[in-house]
Subunit: 232 residues, 2 copies
């Protein structure tokens, strides 16, 4: 069964033993992770709190970059915010990154019991789909959402992935596929009706929206193993 | 804000104080309720268990018809199952009905704290929409779903209602509107991809599906006041 879960919070209630999970947080955590790894970062560790991030850095022998957000803005004492534009090659190449975001890292944590955990955004969706096409067990595509609420941009990306897969699909997966297929001419336009898109635009992150909804689909697929995210 | 809630279970977590709620269980509880009232039933009381239904009947001085289902079939000792075809005029006219169904009555119970509670199916959606167009506060359209899972037929009906309303819409409401609008040429075809539709078809309820997805939209809107459902 191919299922889509509407929020990180709902993912906590799903038994993912034996399943493959895919976490999506288009605006912006998984888009930024995709950019960071594409631009040469060695690994990303997702943690729940800024304190855990500072702890990790203090205990690490190599250089660690701290990235993430609270209320969409950079965390005090951190190196980078949650903008994909901040994870450029000159900043991240060869480095390990620790990230904490409001919804994306929560969704990743919720999927720890899955057999395999992939990280997707629109930017690397085609390579994530390639991986999923050979999966025979259950697939849970988890939309991070924002503060417990479903966000349409995650649903659109989930729908894009579902539309490329063959197999039994849940009613919610079919619905998200339908939302994507009927929006495929202009995904950004449909996403722009969403609350979270609007909030980021108001906060001045318009260029981030350009990146997250660009036509790129072939950045590297990411996998999270034992809490560490790397390219596949 | 116009919001859509994916399941009865999720509705339990929503604070509906001051809001208008609409409960939808297309297959089949709210479709059957709509048919019952349209065919002359005086009232419907929705209860959670068969025991409550028998109790209600035992304490009632007037004739009471018991209707509902467990696992989609008639409950032992009940008069009627959950098929809209069972609630014909010759059976229900002038009578009070007590119903218990797996998902629909749960959703109705979850919305008891709303200021106003309307009951919708496709069959009476246009009159429900008429009522909602003059609502100024929050509107929660609750899809009953089936056993805690979202079902596409409820989402399609919610999307139909959302598409006719003007106002701030949540990301999930916009998504359901998109699912409906892109399916409006053949709602039944899209609904037929759903698990619950398929299950009812397998169980031999094909005629029920014809009724629930007929082109009728103008049956009477229903309101639930103090647990009693009547025509508006």
């Amino acid at each position: 069964m191919i299922d889509v879960i509407a929020t990180a919070q709902q993912a906590l209630d799903v038994d993912m033993n034996g399943a493959t999970a895919v976490v999506i947080d288009v605006l912006r955590a998984t888009s930024s992770m995709t950019c960071a790894i594409h631009n040469g970062a060695r690994s990303i560790v997702a943690v729940n709190t800024p304190e855990e991030a500072f702890d990790f850095k203090a205990k690490s022998s190599s250089r660690v970059i701290l990235g993430g957000e609270r209320h969409a803005d950079k965390i005090s004492g951190f190196d980078l915010d949650n903008s994909p534009l901040s994870y450029s090659a000159d900043v991240v190449r060869g480095n390990d990154i620790v990230m904490t975001t409001t919804n994306g890292t929560l969704a990743i944590g919720a999927c720890r019991r899955a057999d395999r955990l992939l990280i997707s955004s629109f930017l690397n969706a085609d390579n994530v789909i390639n991986q999923l096409q050979s999966v025979s067990g259950d697939i849970y595509i988890v939309c991070a959402g924002t503060e417990g609420r479903f966000t349409i941009e995650d649903g659109l990306c989930a729908g894009y992935i579902v539309s490329k897969l063959v197999g039994d699909k849940s009613d919610f997966a079919i619905s998200m596929q339908q939302v994507y297929l009927s929006s495929s001419e202009d995904i950004r336009l449909v996403a722009s009706k969403g609350e979270h898109f609007e909030r980021l635009k108001r906060k001045g992150y318009a260029f981030d929206l350009d990146v997250c909804f660009s036509d790129i689909r072939n950045y590297e697929a990411l996998e999270c193993v034992d809490g560490v995210i790397k390219k596949l």
